[in-house]
């Protein structure tokens, strides 16, 4: 008796790195189901506000619904408060939205990234039900276990438990951070079957958002 499974893992990996005045967000563009590839050109990154970007991997049906819900809430906020949502405000909103469905969760592993109200880079990493933390860098998705150790080695942040609070952002320059992200994706693509095809890199800084794509291994 086959029961209907409401979830599916469409694979893929997302990464974000926060710098002093920039933020790098990257995700591969492969959409898979089982051992098949459905698309080599599917973006996992959504721009929610001018300095705030959401990258999610997991079940794309839930991810699309989540992006729609957040975009609508952002518009309502803009109308009620006469200003655009800041990244930390969106972070709290995303957490509440995920926890609202605590007993039928969004199968989405999210990384929210952008610039905070002071213009510093910020990365917020989530689990499926909304537990979140502001960190200096994060990877989520099928290749995250392959990427996090490398990021830890290159970008090790001070512990968030230390007092006085230390800055979590990396001292690396923007181009160094982008190179690191490209290297880390190239490594994960070698061993993770769900990661590959093309890498979409979004860099957010004070002058705006810019998008770059590079090819990854297609096998």
């Amino acid at each position: 008796m086959a029961r209907f499974d409401p979830y599916e893992n469409n694979g893929g990996t997302c990464v974000a790195v926060a710098g002093a005045d920039y933020c790098v967000v990257a995700a591969d563009t492969r959409l898979s189901v089982g051992y098949s590839i459905l698309s080599r050109d599917h973006s996992k990154i959504a721009q929610l506000a001018d300095k705030c970007v959401l990258a999610s991997s997991g079940f794309q049906g839930d991810i699309k619904a989540l992006q729609k819900a957040l975009a609508a809430k952002e518009l309502v906020y803009e109308h009620n408060n006469n200003k655009k949502m800041s990244c930390p405000a969106m972070a709290q909103l995303l957490s509440n939205t995920l926890y609202y469905k605590r007993f039928f969760p969004y199968y989405a592993f999210n990384v929210l990234a952008g610039l905070d109200t002071q213009g510093k880079g910020c990365v917020f990493t989530y689990d499926a039900v909304g537990s979140y933390e502001r960190t200096g860098y994060s990877a989520q998705g099928t290749g995250s276990a392959l990427m996090m150790p490398v990021l830890d080695n290159q970008l090790k942040s001070p512990s968030p438990l230390l007092l006085p609070a230390r800055d979590a952002v990396t001292p690396l320059s923007e181009s160094d951070a982008v190179d690191l992200v490209k290297d880390v994706f190239a490594s994960a693509t070698e061993r993770d079957i769900y990661t590959g095809d093309r890498l979409e890199i979004v860099v957010i800084n004070s002058s705006g958002t810019c998008r770059e794509c590079i090819e990854l291994r297609k096998d």
Partner: protein, 268 residues
């Protein structure tokens, strides 16, 4: 079966006809009332285009104790007359300035019980909901709008609405990323941003004194003195730390202790 059904149907018909007649009668009454210029239902317009209940509510506030607010570049000062009617009354229990959130305070005049409801249900709940949803303080204009949204929810028929408007005027002192601000709300649900305003029984005299004495370069200290001296002019009793309340939002809300009020009185 048939003979039992007949009286039942007849009874049903009577009830329906009675209801129908009742509706007819009420409709006629309503139309008649509107034509005579007799006071219409609570939340409908008069033929001249006025909402009487709202206007009467505004009148009610003119009986309330005076409250004064002044905005300076460093922050906003609120001062109220507590109107302690008996020496047996515990002055600290008379609360006419309330904290809404860390960065917002409000002074009230009119029916204090209505003000409590408005502040607790609309204001405090809304600002805390905003903090819960967005992890940040609510902007002062949105929070004032939240209060005013509630002001016109009165009328008959709907169980959730009040039977009459709120008979209270508020002076809302706030501070957000755009700096300090003072808003004034009234029972019509409108709000205005002001540099200085007085509400309550002494408001006319106080407003004209404020116009003479206010300027944009005032310091917080000068504003305190001006507010209290104007309050002294319009109050019947002598000003003591027990019958006035002062608060400031600069940038956080702070209610003055009796000792601090005493210090301001000494400067008068």
């Amino acid at each position: 079966m048939a003979d039992r059904a007949l009286p039942r149907t007849a009874a049903l018909a009577c009830v329906l006809r009675f209801n129908f007649l009742g509706k007819q009668k009420r409709r006629e009454e309503r139309e008649r009332g509107a034509e005579d210029g007799v006071r219409p239902r609570v939340n409908t317009f008069s033929p001249e285009g006025r909402l009487f209940q709202v206007e009467y509510a505004i009148e009610a506030i003119k009986l309330g104790s005076t409250a004064i607010g002044l905005k300076t570049k460093d922050g906003v000062v609120l001062a109220v007359e507590k109107r302690v009617t008996s020496p047996l009354l515990e002055p600290s229990s008379v609360e006419k300035i309330m904290e809404i959130d860390e960065h917002i305070g409000c002074a009230m005049s009119g029916l204090i019980a209505d003000a409590r409801t408005l502040v607790e249900h609309a204001f405090r709940v809304e600002t805390q909901n905003h903090r819960f949803s967005y992890g940040e303080p609510m902007t002062r204009e949105s929070s004032t709008q939240a209060i005013c949204d509630l002001a016109l929810r009165f009328g008959e028929g709907d169980e959730e609405s009040m039977s009459r408007p709120f008979g209270v005027s508020l002076l809302i002192a706030g501070h957000d990323e755009n700096g300090p601000s003072l808003y004034y709300t009234d029972p019509s649900g409108t709000f205005w941003q002001c540099n200085a305003k007085a509400i309550g029984s002494g408001s006319e005299g106080a407003d004209s004194s404020l116009q003479e004495q206010y300027n944009k370069e005032l310091t917080l200290q000068e504003a305190e003195t001006i507010a209290l001296s104007i309050l002294k002019q319009v109050m019947e009793e002598k000003v003591t730390p027990n019958n006035v309340d002062i608060a400031k939002v600069a940038p956080k809300y702070h209610l003055y202790t009796p000792a601090e009020v005493e210090a301001v009185i000494a400067r008068l």
